[in-house]
Assembly symmetry: C2
């Protein structure tokens, strides 16, 4: 296991306290389901007509032709949502609408445009072709596993749940994630920028990711560079949230006091620093069963720390069953011209060119760059010790 | 142009009335931006130190070695967020923290762990290596186009906007989409299912897609199969929404009266029926500048009509600049064993196998099946007139 995998794994081994709630199925889109859904009823639950036409016995039409048409007596009309009163017996047919229950005895539906009909009789000019019947259970068979606990419910998932007659469904509560920024150089957007200061962009970046992955962000603002103030603020955030993310103050400098604060509040440090660039200057700790993730103050590095190290744990915190990063192999669209002493994470985007997955770098790969995260949907991983890589090199990529 | 492309195009030619609103940047994740963002200020706006260390003149250290270290006088300490009082001149250095403004005169920062220092002096044992300075404009240069009007704002987009000091941003209002279900066979989930009836799953399916693509669904429930009731209900929905979607009642049967209702309310029909399977039984009409999309009552067909025909128009309605379907080529993972008289749309999922895009069918491809939409993220298009296709055939696919 690499130290990157170890860091992910250490986080994943932290227990989570999942809370459930029951909601209306119509509110369930995008939520993580907290129960397994097994088909209690087959769908459809009866034989349905696929077209407007006539429900017949094939046997009755087997000799029908243009020269010798077959005429059947129409005993009733069955609109969708109704069931017929009579079975279809020799010499009879039922007029039937799309979706209506095919009456007993009938084994085919002939489209009405292929017939000539009056109110009482219908005339056929050839044997029945396709059955035009949707069999009971054609879409969903009784007893099959439909949706596994821990899935993010997509549009069709909510429809399948509704198709089982369920107007309510059990989901996991969305985790609440506190975001604290440290750094005396930070100014809130909307305020005037004094020379030497920068706008605080990390809470926007991280709150966006928090939402993207189905959690609720809460911004605790910029905390002054004072150990006891930060300790208080982190403790407050821990009380009201399921996880706390800080930015800044995690490298080796004098003012990098997040590790000291962890000690002060009695949090157990899981790891501090990973041999990874960018984002290696990060820390994870646990207090009261809740994780504190201390990310770099550099936005590019913070994003990589969040996505490449923290995300599997956060997916677990959501109750998801697909917590591991989605990994694939892709080809570098352009060269990467630096050698990599430690594992290097590149920000890029997926292209499909001639059916092949291609990794295209999204610009500036430096620690502080946030612009290169704008269209990033793939992180590329270059192993420690790699030389400069030419275009066309295959690398491991992770979907984000 | 195929008739499928024509149908999409006809819808796209309908004018839309886009409404804007100004919101807090922290609320902007996932919204469609209604303005172009150009960099007013470069980011960072000044030269920043990449590490904790000493800001120096390279010239002063050029002869430094273990045997002959160079000692400089430390004139001040510059924490992040502050600017120094003095330029760095010959024989002097400034102690500097990560992110702080590099003082004039300095052209490199030496990491503090590579030095020996007291409060007043610092000692260097080799010439300066890397500059360790983040140049002004390294992430974002002044005047560059950052975000184009019509983009869905991702996490890093909101961070880039915040980095420009903008606490508010102009976005398009989310379109409101009414969903009406027709069909006497329909029962709401949660109620008892009488034989011959089915649960109404389409509003769940369509409301899910509506949300997925950034719009607001409103369910108008099941409308009884009476022309004047449906006409009233559609008119009511048109008044309060930007678009109306109906399901059912669009094929050729007696009870398929959506086309008649369009006439009744004075809507202009844009098209009715497309040679496409499933989903070809669909209709589009315009009234008061608003589109009414009449989809099949069969969920699989409704989904294909929504995604493959209606979606580009709906993206336009959102104000998006990327309205066209994302098309690629992929290889069939398994055979498709039917020949296709008209264009056939297959539901499937994207896999990357050995770096190649592969299309894997997600089960039952029939009109009524909704289970096969559950993990569908790719629609495959098989051209009209195709024979049965073996595994490995390359087909056009569309990302949904």
């Amino acid at each position: 296991m690499t130290r990157i995998e170890e860091a992910r794994q250490t986080l994943l081994e932290t227990d989570v306290n999942l809370k459930m709630e029951e909601i209306q199925t119509e509110e369930a889109y995008g939520r993580v389901i907290a129960e397994n859904i097994t088909a209690k009823t087959e769908v459809p639950s009866f034989r349905r007509s696929a077209y407007d036409g006539y429900a017949v016995r094939r046997e009755d039409l087997k000799d029908a032709s243009k020269e010798y048409p077959v005429t059947l007596k129409v005993r009733e009309t069955i609109p969708a949502g109704s069931r017929g009163k009579f079975p279809v017996t020799e010499g009879t047919a039922a007029r039937i609408m799309t979706g209506a229950m095919v009456p007993e005895g009938a084994d085919a539906v002939v489209k009405h445009e292929d017939t000539r009909f009056t109110e009482k009789e219908v005339c056929f000019f050839m044997p029945a072709g396709a059955a035009n019947i949707v069999d009971a259970g054609e879409d969903i068979k009784q007893g099959v596993s439909l949706i596994r606990k821990g899935k993010i419910l997509g549009a069709a998932d909510t429809a399948v749940i509704a198709g089982q007659g369920m107007s309510r469904v059990c989901v996991f509560q969305k985790p609440r994630i506190a975001i604290l920024s440290t750094g005396n150089e930070l100014t809130e957007p909307g305020q005037e920028l004094v020379k030497g200061k920068i706008y605080n962009t990390n809470p926007f970046l991280l709150a966006g990711y928090v939402q993207k992955y189905g959690m609720i962000p809460k911004d605790y603002g910029i905390v002054p560079d004072e150990t006891d103030v930060l300790a208080d603020r982190i403790q407050m955030a821990l009380n009201d949230n399921d996880m706390v993310i800080t930015t800044g103050g995690v490298s080796a400098g004098d003012f990098d006091y997040v590790p000291k604060v962890m000690e002060l509040i009695g949090a157990d440090i899981l790891f501090h620093r990973i041999p990874m660039k960018p984002g290696g200057a990060m820390l994870a700790a646990v207090k009261d069963g809740k994780v504190i993730l201390g990310l770099s103050g550099n936005p590019g590095a913070a994003a990589v720390g969040f996505l490449h190290i923290g995300l599997p744990y956060m997916k677990k915190l959501c109750g998801r069953n697909d917590i591991h990063l989605t990994k694939a192999q892709a080809i570098l669209a352009g060269p990467f011209e630096k050698s990599s002493k430690v594992t290097r994470i590149l920000r890029g985007t997926a292209k499909i060119l001639e059916g092949r997955l291609v990794f295209e770098q999204t610009g500036n790969q430096k620690n502080g760059a946030v612009s290169s995260m704008m269209d990033c949907n793939l992180l590329g991983e270059i192993p420690a010790g790699s030389p400069a890589l030419p275009a066309g090199t295959e690398i491991d990529v992770y979907v984000v």
